[in-house]
């Protein structure tokens, strides 16, 4: 076999292995919990636009949810209640609707009387930035724009992911940061 064919085959095999290895690595990567929070622009259901980096200096709670998600319902009322409690203290809640049908999403927001900023993840662009594996997932962004942990499941009174008490404590800790 000519030498050049051997080289081409060798390079092709190595490239293929590298390609699959990269794919496995990206897919297997854990959800983000630290480092700079990936920036995004979220268009709300009302048509307004909001950029995460514009909220620098505030504590931002990013919650991924969907109307078809059962566990999301378990935390919805609590999140709204907490938002109302903290909205005047420099805390911003962002709800990102994940892979949902808009009429159902609007009905969900109405059902739980959710008033904090909410919008769909149009084109599925934001969720891969945070490498979310499902819903609900909540990410904590500090005043400096960095991530300070996450809750990869529902936040309820006795949740195994994050309890309501731990959630409140987390917000207080982040508010105390300079």
């Amino acid at each position: 076999m000519p030498r050049w064919v051997q080289i081409v085959v060798f390079i092709a095999v190595i490239a293929l292995i590298g390609f699959f290895a990269f794919g496995l690595r990206v897919r297997g990567a854990p959800a983000l919990g630290s480092g700079p929070a990936p920036d995004f622009t979220l268009k709300s259901f009302d048509g307004q636009s909001l950029k995460l980096s514009d909220l620098r200096g505030k504590v931002v709670i990013i919650n991924f949810w969907a109307s078809w998600c059962g566990p999301c319902r378990d935390e919805a009322a609590f999140l709204e209640k907490t938002w109302r409690q903290y909205k005047d203290r420099g805390v911003v809640f962002l709800g990102i609707d994940y892979n949902d049908v808009e009429p159902n999403a609007r009905a969900y927001l109405k059902e739980f009387d959710i008033t904090y900023y909410n919008g769909p993840d149009l084109g599925g662009i934001i969720s891969p930035l945070y490498r979310i594996k499902g819903v609900p997932e909540t990410y904590f962004v500090g005043k400096d724009g960095n991530l300070y942990g996450n809750a990869l499941g529902p936040i309820t009174r006795d949740s195994g992911y994050m309890t309501e008490r731990e959630f409140i404590r987390k917000i207080e800790e982040m508010l105390a940061q300079k």
Binding site: V5, W68, N99, D100, G124
Partner: protein, 174 residues
Amino acid sequence: MQSKISNRKHRPERGEGSKIIFAVATIFVIALAWFAASPVGAQTPSVDDEVNRIAKTLYCPVCPNTPLDVCNTQACADWRKQIKEMLIQGKSEQQIRDYFVQQFGERVLGAPPAEGFNWIAYILPALGIVLGAVVAWLTVRQWILRRADVTSAPEAPAIPKEYADRIEKELKEY
């Protein structure tokens, strides 16, 4: 007497009414069967069939590699319902597909659109096949050439006659 007879003639005979009912029923059944079997009826797919046909070409964004028509999650049921509503609104298949791509990204498509970086997905398999064919052809050719070399290899040089005679003689003596 005559009037009695004529009256009897004009009175419908017994069973005539049931014959009319039978005839009407027969016509109705034939008309129904004709309508059911008519090509127009057979060629008009129901909205549900259309939904399934479109759903088959779209993939669940939540549970990857599962076509929307066979996916059993609540999310997929919602999306199928949405497709149905859009069809009823008069949206075309392409408009529905575009809407889903805009909402959930290109991963909902069975195959990536042939543009930009996506071309790699279309070119690589063909390139792999061509490269594999070249390698296979070169390998087979090499085998054939090697085999031809072996079969056409020169015979062992003949032993000079004097040696042959001597060997023969010694063998006889032995």
